[in-house]
């Protein structure tokens, strides 16, 4: 435990020194990676941990982003208030997400969440476009900080705090119990635990993270649009980040998010046109099919080989 904490601290120190060495352009990429990492961690807390696969995670992120954006842009609510309210709204949305999970799981649950996202996409445009900005969304949302370096620190601080909190949480017995749900839900209730309450807890944590991430994301971007948020390509990026990194770990989604973001960005100078998305998708596909457990597993295997067959415990990080 202390050794791993040290590793976290080292990670933080390296990242905090980063603006000294890399260009603002790179920092901007990292900012997006940080937000993607937050979303992927949020996804993973429901889907990786409890095994309830969500195909509609942008539903939660979108509630967070839209609530804070509407409150601050339309009603002049200060960001310090609009973000907590957005998180609250997202958690209420998370309860909606949770209702189907009481009765269905697996594929059907995934499809309901997809339907939730689609519904949200349509409703945002139809209901009160004077508030949501309809199809065009809202532009000119108040930003919290400006400039690459401050925003890097903000996004990294947020991401790091969430990651550390989730990591600490997953090391408690509740983390063990949630992992157990993904393996065998009946046996968890057969161990005298209220799985409904545990799942609700996981959904609330996930919604909290999604709401927090979504709200800060909106205030970082300065603009939101339904087409960018409630989009199957966004779902794709979140899920693939979590899986390619390594599901049901905390570090995994972070690695995955960084990998996916940098991959797409570093393809830009080489392939400026639409070939970029093709190559990007193909790499994701091949990596996923080759190693569904993700980069964490690859690293673990490498570590095992290098360490002469010692069984690594990287899986618990």
């Amino acid at each position: 435990m202390p050794r791993l904490l040290l590793a976290w601290a080292a990670f933080a120190v390296i990242m905090l020194l980063l603006p000294q060495v890399v260009s603002p352009g790179t920092l901007r990429i990292i900012i997006f990676a940080n937000f993607l990492a937050i979303f992927a961690m949020s996804w993973d807390f429901i889907s990786g941990k409890t095994g309830y696969i969500s195909f509609g995670h942008p539903f939660l992120i979108g509630i967070g982003a839209y609530t804070s954006a509407i409150l601050s842009y339309r009603f002049g609510v200060p960001v310090s208030l609009s973000i907590p309210l957005a998180v609250l709204a997202t958690m209420i949305g998370g309860t909606l997400f949770f209702l189907p999970a009481l009765r269905i799981k697996g594929t059907y649950f995934a499809l309901v969440t997809l339907a939730f996202m689609e519904l949200m996409y349509q409703l945002v445009q139809v209901i009160r476009p004077d508030l949501t900005g309809g199809t065009r969304g809202i532009s000119g949302i108040k930003t919290i900080l400006s400039g690459a370096v401050p925003n890097f620190y903000l996004s990294f601080g947020l991401m790091f705090a969430i990651a550390l909190a989730l990591w600490l949480l997953s090391r408690t017995r509740i983390g063990t119990a949630l992992d157990a749900i993904s393996m065998n839900e009946e046996a968890v209730s057969g161990s005298g635990l209220n799985t409904t309450r545990l799942k609700l807890f996981a959904f609330m944590v996930s919604a909290l993270v999604a709401g927090l991430g979504g709200a800060f994301y909106a205030h970082y971007l300065g603009s939101i649009a339904p087409r960018a948020l409630f989009d199957i390509n966004f779902v794709f990026t979140i899920i693939v980040s979590a899986l390619i990194g390594g599901s049901s770990t905390v570090i995994g989604p972070i690695i995955g998010a960084y990998f996916m973001t940098f991959l797409l960005e570093y393809l830009r100078p080489v392939l400026p046109g639409s070939e970029r998305y093709l190559v990007y998708g193909l790499i994701a596909l091949v990596l996923y099919v080759y190693q569904p457990k993700g980069i964490m597993e690859l690293l673990r295997k490498l570590g095992v080989r290098a360490g002469g067959g010692r069984t690594g415990r990287a899986g618990n990080v």
Partner: protein, 283 residues
Amino acid sequence: MLQVLIQGFLLSGLYALIAVGFTLIFSVGRVLNLAYGAYLMIGGYAYFYMVQTLGMPKLPGFLFAIGMGALAGVLMYRILVKRLKGDQVAVEISTLILAVVIQAGIVLVFNDSSKILHPIVDGVWRIGSTTITNNILVAMVASWFILGGLLLFVKKTHVGRAMQAVSMDAKGARISGINTDRVNMMTWAISGALGAVAGVFFASYTQLNPSMWVAPLIIAVAVVIVGGIGSIVGTLIVAHIIGFMEIITTTFIAAELRGVFTMLLIIGVLVIRPQGLFGRGDL
């Protein structure tokens, strides 16, 4: 009223056609093929390329589209699904990624702009203010024929019965000497071919564009969820529920709420009756 009836039947026929290939994979392979919409796209673009770019006659164009769809199905099965060995989540996610890849591929080859297919059959006729194009009529009739043919195929032929057996109990089928791998591959090929046919009709209704795979996928998902997996007849019934609901919403309530009701129906059915309206039967 007559108008709603006519338009309802026409649209529902198309929806049934779209959903049936998806149902097939879901009930036989027990996996959700999120790249199903891509078959429609591949079929539509293949037909467009042959007929409207190269100027070939319609029939070879149609056959080419079917072939491409079947090929896509087989490749998907061989390269992805088989490798993932029935891990449902892995198949869902990898087919989702694949759909995004195919979309990027289509953008690359055909560019981003929407394309319109000529009607496969020309001509219109009119009942009151209702216009019926022969094209849509043919799509509906074709849909009925294909669904009927599929039903016969599944019930009467050897391969069809093998598919049925696999859909009920894959392990049992394997023990009783059925080559489940081949049956699965056949199913993927047929599903791909059906998707391509649906794609040509769907595109001749609407348009071709690189993100066209999402809408039919959602229709297929809605039909399968509301109906419950399996049953070809169930697919037909639910396609009509959804088709008529859309027409009624558009005509009497508000045209912009078209999709909202479909989504609410999916969520409602899944939460209240997770097994679907017609249960989770076999093929």
